[in-house]
């Protein structure tokens, strides 16, 4: 436990020093503020529930950006340290390989969580300061959005570690990470949509659709946020699918947690088998 905390603290210290934390927080805050204020310009202010609109736009932002940031910080974690030669020394210390992995995970997740809470929180605070009426329900949905965004980040950090534990060199790891991002964030949904259009509801049942959605963590996140709350789903255009898909928030949460634990466990196994 102590070793994990020490390694996590070092990751955070490094993140602060090489300005990862600063860059990520500023990027998320800037985009969130832009979406909050410019995003509502075309619709005008016609008494819509302001924060719910923000949740919709920030969720869409999260799906693209958070996986990318998470993979950027994590794909290098094992193979990079091995190439630079720092891993050899670290592992000669009284610390297990799984402890190194979990320590890094905690550290990287803390960096991402800090950036998300601060960046997105800035948008919500700015909105509240402009005098928009926000009720408790919207705040709860917003908090859930931030929480699940961090979970989505954790998923992709874990996937990045798995890539890092398996890849032969850093370049390969980076390439595979980009491929995974493209696959899960862009291609998967397009392919799924195409499939549904072609299929016209003949072969793919609602159950199969549920399974297909659970197989992609970004879709799990999307369902959790855009279809979860009644108010939000009305704005997001996800109400149609929300009626068909019988996935409760708790199932979706379990799915996200499984998406964290499975790659992380596999990464630990791959790392422990790796020859130095």
């Amino acid at each position: 436990m102590r070793s994990i905390a020490i390694i996590a603290a070092k990751e955070i210290q490094e993140g602060l020093r090489n300005r990862w934390v600063l860059a990520t927080t500023l990027l998320l805050a800037a985009l969130a503020l832009t979406l909050t204020f410019l995003g509502s310009a075309p619709t005008g202010n016609v008494g819509v529930r302001a924060l719910d609109v923000v949740i919709v736009s920030l969720s869409s932002l999260t799906i693209f950006l958070i996986p990318l940031i998470a993979l950027l910080i994590s794909h290098d974690a094992i193979v990079g340290e091995m190439e630079r030669g720092t891993m050899l020394l670290l592992l000669s210390y009284p610390v297990g390989r799984w402890q190194v992995l979990v320590g890094k995970f905690v550290g990287h997740l803390a960096i991402l969580a800090f950036a998300t809470v601060l960046g997105y929180g800035a948008a919500a605070t700015a909105l509240a300061l402009t005098g928009a009426a926000i009720d408790a329900e919207s705040w709860a949905a917003f908090a859930q959005m931030i929480g699940s965004s961090i979970l989505l980040g954790a998923v992709f950090i874990a996937i990045g570690y798995l890539v890092s534990a398996l890849a032969r060199d850093r370049g390969t790891a980076a390439g595979i990470a980009v491929g995974i991002w493209l696959m899960l964030v862009l291609i998967y949904d397009m392919a799924l949509l195409g499939l549904l259009v072609v299929d016209q509801g003949r072969a793919i049942s609602a159950g199969a659709l549920n399974a297909l959605l659970l197989l992609n963590p970004t879709d799990v996140y999307r369902m959790l946020n855009l279809a979860g709350s009644v108010n939000v789903s009305a704005f997001s255009g996800m109400s149609g699918i929300a009626d068909v898909v019988a996935l409760t928030p708790s199932i979706l949460l379990v799915a996200l947690c499984a998406w964290i634990l499975l790659p992380l466990t596999l990464a630990a196994v791959a790392f422990s088998r790796r020859e130095l």
Partner: protein, 306 residues
């Protein structure tokens, strides 16, 4: 005294390459051991095996009474390691780096930071490691290896990149640790440097241990000739047998210097004649075989062996 490191019939195979083949030795406490060999002779593999970073394909290893690869870390806390080409995270300062390693070892940070002064890095301790020169990184590497007064110190090519002054202070530190009962393993190419410092030499060649013993013992086994250098004013080769008797393997270096490679059994007789009455010898120098000679000899004898 129980040995601190015990290696029994250890073999390590990486897919098709046999990095270490059936090596056995024991290292006692309070000794400096030189691990000598070409690149790829298996030195680094042996050190990694002692650290438990890799598992042996066959054989058993015990370091401080523990199997280092078993996942128990009690012994590792008493172990110091300096890898070849040591690397650190460039973003942190020397002080932060050393504090991190001290915490990881469960040692008091303040005490560990004292090591920075010992390796001459105190002035640069607040600077980022990325700005350090190779020698400074090497010194930081040495400082981290010394955290917590280790009982076993494994140093892989420790003096590369150190200037002569630091080399001396480095060997002083090694000496001090050895005297306090630590086992110090030095792997190196710089044989002449190790000659006066190592209590024992282990010579590796292509994964096989070809020699293990004190330099004196190795000299006895190798039976290498001792070089005798005689200063003779007005040296005339034709006159040599008259005062030195029948000698093989002599050569004239210049007008007044004669070199003879004398086998161990002829050495005393030769010296008596050279220093006896009537011999025109002004000065005698004896040069025993160096570690370099021994190393070359053992490699040759292994290669000619069936």
């Amino acid at each position: 005294m129980t040995p601190t490191v015990e290696i029994d019939g250890v073999t390590k195979r990486y897919r098709s390459i046999q990095a270490v083949r059936d090596v056995s030795f024991r290292l006692p406490a309070g000794e400096t051991i030189a691990l000598v060999g070409h690149n790829g002779a298996g030195k680094t593999t042996l050190l990694k095996l002692m650290l438990g970073l890799i598992h042996p394909t066959a054989g058993g290893i015990r370091v401080l009474g523990e199997n280092p690869a078993a996942g128990e870390f009690a012994a590792r806390r008493r172990l110091g390691y300096l890898p070849e080409n040591v690397a650190f995270n460039a973003a942190l300062s020397g002080r932060e780096t050393l504090s991190f390693y001290a915490r990881l070892k469960g040692e008091p940070v303040a005490k560990a930071l004292g090591l920075l002064a010992r390796v001459g890095l105190e002035a640069a301790s607040a600077r980022r490691v990325g700005t350090y020169s190779k020698g400074m990184r090497q010194r930081l590497g040495l400082a981290q290896a010394l955290i917590g007064a280790p009982r076993v110190l494994l140093l892989d090519e420790p003096t590369t990149g150190l200037d002569p002054e630091l080399r001396v202070s480095f060997y002083e530190i090694v000496q001090e640790l050895r005297d306090s009962g630590a086992t110090v393993v030095l792997s190196s190419h710089a044989l002449t440097e190790l000659e006066e410092r190592a209590d024992r030499v282990i010579i590796m060649n292509r994964g096989v241990m070809v020699a293990n013993g004190s330099i004196e013992a190795l000299r006895r086994i190798a039976c290498l000739p001792t070089r005798i250098r005689l200063t003779v004013p007005d040296l005339r080769p034709a006159a040599i047998p008259a005062w030195l008797g029948p000698v093989e393997g002599w050569r004239q270096v210049n007008g007044h210097l004669l070199e003879i490679d004398a086998a161990a059994e002829d050495k005393m007789a030769l010296l008596r004649r050279a220093t006896g009455a009537g011999a025109p010898v002004q000065d005698v120098d004896l040069i025993p075989p160096t570690l370099d000679d021994l190393y070359a000899h053992f490699l040759r004898s292994q290669e000619t062996a069936p």
